[in-house]
């Protein structure tokens, strides 16, 4: 079988399992998987930005919060149907992402990390200050969402399927984006900006565009994350959330699509089980995993899967995991060559 077939088959199996899942678990577990999918959308958005375009954001928790609050305020204050608030959250966050992306054009690497870190730190404070809209420290509550009668589903199952549909749509969209012209341009920017520009890539448009799309993903993820809980407070979006997103893309694999699923499951379930042992354990695991993965598995879980399967079925040249590996040392002429090679390989 060709590798493309294998990949489609794997996706098919995952999708069937995902559809069956809510009928085999209790409401609590189904809620957790719903949250994991919402996180996966945000993680995928961050990976588009960091993994593909090479721009570092330590502040995606801010967009996640913005999406969640946009949706909650639209439902609660304006009475917009909750399904319509999802594209609304995406739009608002895309605009915010575009605005953050503008200064990001002139900030590279480290400095962008600093600015976005500041954004993540300031998020809870800003939410508290804007208490007219956000309810401040009191938080916001929305009415419980119920499944429509025709569906015959329990409320938790309904929200699960809503989230599943959005997740599939966002993943397919991302896959098309990165496989085509856009993806090649982004990888070229990441690996050598100067070479990319010389080849005619419009840096400003692609960079701000990626920021907007990435933020929109985070926003939609945030809105979906909030719906089953029905409650929001400034403390829901600590700095640790932004760090968790970063841990998720490193665990799943930088510059991969499917990696977002592994990463999201990791950050959804590790804290749940770690908290049984000690409050601090989840943090110890996150920190340790970030460091160890960068040493041992820079391609993340997806990199490992590809490495294992490529020895049998896949030619090495088409191995995306290499493009996503964290160990791209130095820039210079060698970097430009590699970028060109990779662009051709796709």
């Amino acid at each position: 079988m060709s590798s493309r077939r294998v990949r489609l088959l794997a996706w098919g199996v995952v999708l069937v399992l995902a559809v069956l899942l809510p009928f085999f678990f209790n409401a609590y577990r189904v809620g957790q998987f719903t949250q994991a999918m919402a996180l996966a959308i945000a993680v995928l958005g961050l990976n588009l930005l960091v993994g593909y375009s090479g721009q570092i954001s330590l502040g995606h928790g801010a967009f996640f919060a913005l999406g969640a609050y946009t949706s909650a305020i639209a439902i609660d204050d304006v009475g917009v149907p909750y399904l319509l608030t999802l594209p609304l959250a995406g739009l608002v966050c895309a605009l915010a992402g575009f605005l953050v992306g503008l200064p990001a054009l002139r900030l590279r690497g480290l400095y962008l990390a600093l600015v976005t870190l500041g954004l993540a730190i300031a998020t809870p404070q800003i939410i508290k200050r804007a208490d007219g809209l956000t309810g401040g420290t009191q938080g916001l509550t929305i009415d419980k969402i119920t499944a429509p009668a025709w569906s015959g589903l329990a409320d938790d199952q309904w929200l699960y399927f809503v989230t599943l549909v959005v997740t599939v749509a966002t993943f397919v969209l991302a896959a098309f984006l990165v496989r085509g012209r856009v993806g090649r341009a982004l990888v070229a920017i990441r690996d050598n900006e100067i070479a990319a520009r010389a080849m005619g890539v419009n840096l400003a448009r692609f960079k701000t565009g990626t920021f907007a799309v990435s933020a929109a993903y985070a926003g939609v993820g945030g809105a979906l994350f909030m719906l089953p809980i029905g409650f929001l407070a400034p403390e829901s979006f600590p700095l640790a959330l932004s760090f968790a997103f970063l841990a998720a893309i490193v665990v799943g694999g930088l510059a991969t699509i499917a990696g977002a699923l592994f990463g999201a499951l990791f950050i959804e379930f590790v804290p749940v089980y770690a908290a049984d042992v000690d409050e601090a354990l989840a943090g110890v695991i996150y920190g340790g995993v970030l460091i160890l993965f960068m040493y041992l598995l820079p391609g993340g879980v997806m990199g490992l899967i590809r490495k294992l399967s490529s020895t049998k079925t896949r030619p090495r040249g088409s191995d995306d995991a290499e493009a996503g590996a964290g160990h791209r040392v130095g820039g210079g002429a060698a970097g430009a060559d590699r970028a060109r090679e990779r662009v051709r390989a796709q």
Binding site: R106, G109, L117, I121
Partner: protein, 293 residues
């Protein structure tokens, strides 16, 4: 008028604390080109060690000396074990590893000492001098004096000693430094050791004003980054001046701009970073970076 001066004096003292941590950040950047996101957490960990020693009945001065020595050793160890494998790698890799260290150290401290807060003894007492109606805490004077002393000492080390020369050489060009016989690895270890020591000093100076808990440095770090950015990432003097400017600006904005108040003070360093990076990316005293194709 007196109130205005008081606000500036208070801001100046707070700014000195930001500056102390900023100096530690700048030290590592100068010698290794890495911005250590974990710097604040390492300082917090050191402060907990000092607290533990004092609780165990060790005399204050001895406890501080012990903490500084342990921090120096700890900084060297971290460089050797955690940073060395990725040194000279991609910015993204380095950011992720130092962030991992940030989360790891923070959580380890929570595991060992819990998440509650403790009071930490002041080093300079709590009396204050009264100068023409403006109260200047002796503590503030002490902090500024320590800070100036540290930066002066660092300047002497960098400019007048062989190891300082080696550190400057390594940061400029590790390969050529190795060729002329400098042990690059050892030099980098010493750089991290000194930075951890300065960070520990920042921690024990800061802890009496805030309460000591695992998030002691979480809020301070972004101010220190702002200070380092404003001063220029490779200039310790710039970091000190940047810290003072940020501290005073923060206090003025918090007092006189209603919209900002106490809640949104955090926007001051954020805005400062963005503005500096957009209009003068090298900061006030930094040297420009040259990108080669």
């Amino acid at each position: 008028m007196e109130r205005f001066v008081q606000v500036i004096v208070d801001g100046w003292a707070t700014g000195s604390l930001y500056a102390a941590l900023a100096v530690a950040v700048v030290l590592i950047y100068r010698s290794t080109g890495i911005v250590n996101f974990a710097q604040g957490e390492l300082a917090m960990f050191s402060t907990f060690i000092a607290w533990g020693l004092i609780e165990a009945g060790v005399p204050l001065a001895l406890a501080l000396l012990g903490t500084l020595a342990l921090s120096f050793a700890g900084g060297m160890l971290i460089e050797r074990v955690i940073i060395r494998p990725v040194e000279g790698g991609e910015v993204l890799t380095l950011v992720i590893v130092t962030l991992g260290l940030y989360i790891l150290v923070n959580s380890l401290a929570g595991w060992i000492w819990g998440f509650g807060n403790r009071s930490f003894p002041g080093l300079f007492g709590d009396s204050q001098l009264d100068v023409a109606g403006v109260g200047i805490p002796v503590e503030s004077i002490g902090i500024v004096a320590v800070l100036i002393g540290v930066v002066g000492l660092l300047f002497a080390v960098f400019q007048r000693t062989k190891i300082g020369l080696a550190m400057r050489a390594v940061s400029l060009n590790p390969d050529s430094s190795r060729l002329v016989g400098i042990s690059v690895g050892r030099t980098l270890m010493i750089g991290w050791g000194i930075a951890a020591l300065v960070g520990a000093l920042a921690g024990v100076l800061l802890a009496p004003r805030l309460f000591l808990d695992v998030n002691l440095m979480g809020g301070v770090l972004i101010y220190s980054f702002a200070a380092a950015t404003l001063g220029g990432f490779d200039s310790p003097f710039g970091a000190v001046l940047g810290g003072w400017i940020i501290g005073i600006a923060e206090n003025l904005a918090g007092t006189y701009v209603d919209f900002i108040g106490n809640d949104l003070k955090i926007l001051v360093p954020l805005v400062a970073i963005v503005v500096v990076l957009l209009f003068r990316p090298t900061g006030l005293f930094g040297s420009p970076e040259v990108a080669r194709a």
